[in-house]
């Protein structure tokens, strides 16, 4: 009946019982999706939320790109002595 093998997908092995935290971070995206599906989200709200979420995402990616670029060179400390 089940077309996929069970207990292989979305499975995390536990090492001395302290991988529950890693398991949670593994499932973070899935959990957000499940929370959103509990109640119906209208397409207009969904489009508004998607555009609202892409703004900080674009900014963070560009900023990380800029920082990585700037860090390629050793520069004098601009705040030395503070």
């Amino acid at each position: 009946m089940a077309k996929h093998l069970k207990l292989i997908a979305r499975t995390v092995m536990v090492q001395e019982g302290n991988v529950e935290g890693a398991y949670r971070t593994l499932n973070r995206i899935l959990i957000d999706d499940i929370k959103r599906r509990r109640y119906y989200e209208k397409p207009c709200h969904k489009r508004q939320r998607e555009s609202y979420e892409t703004c900080p995402r674009i900014y963070n990616m560009e900023m990380a790109h800029k920082i990585n670029f700037l860090m390629q060179k050793n520069r004098a400390d601009p705040w030395q002595g503070c």
Binding site: M13, A22, Y23, W79
Partner: protein, 190 residues
């Protein structure tokens, strides 16, 4: 420099608030050689640690491929399974053998909780302890946990199982995710 890159990417504010966090900024730029030596030392330590940890992988052994992992002499496929259904109002646990024979069943209702109290982490933990006690009575030591649902008892039930004396070797998430199937109920207006 990699340390600086990571710190910079996480805290963009450090560029603005450098005067406030003056101590790390000063050490970063004035002692470049010291930083490089520290980075080398950290890499060496990480390699040593990873060598000791390299035998462990977070992925489960697949039935088709052979693996040397054994728990109490049993292979991964022969270990009993604990199904945890963590709904928003209740948590139910059933321990089943590898051949799907029922071994132990417990829920918040069977533990004496009523109505709203069933949907709490405390109730889930006591349920886990009770299910573990019943399962150890039937000779179970290691279990694979399968969690379904996103309720308050999701993590508490696993903790209860470990507190009751069973050893969890793997956690599977079997929450039903529709690929845009049935339309859920309307949004709550608080």
């Amino acid at each position: 420099m990699q340390v600086v890159r990571r710190a910079g990417s996480r805290l963009c504010r450090s560029w603005v608030c450098a005067p406030i966090t003056g101590v790390p900024a000063v050490t970063i730029h004035t002692d470049v050689q010291q930083l490089q030596e520290e980075a080398v030392k950290k890499e060496v330590e990480e390699k040593a640690a990873s060598l000791s940890r390299s035998n462990f992988s977070i992925y489960p052994p697949i039935p088709g491929q052979e693996s040397s992992l054994r728990w109490a002499g049993k292979k991964f496929e022969e270990i009993p399974i604990a199904h945890i259904k963590a709904s928003y109002n209740n948590t139910q646990i059933q321990v089943v053998s590898a051949t799907h024979q029922p071994l132990a069943r417990a829920s918040c209702g069977t533990e004496g909780f009523r109505n709203a109290k069933k949907g709490t982490g405390v109730a889930a933990q006591t349920t886990g302890i009770a299910a573990a006690a019943k399962a150890t009575g039937k000779g179970v030591t290691h279990i694979r946990v399968v969690v379904k649902g996103l309720g308050p008892g999701r993590l508490a039930a696993i903790k209860g199982l470990t507190m009751g004396g069973l050893e969890v070797i793997s956690i599977t998430d079997n929450t039903p995710i529709p690929h845009n199937g049935c339309r859920p109920r309307k949004a709550r207006r608080l």
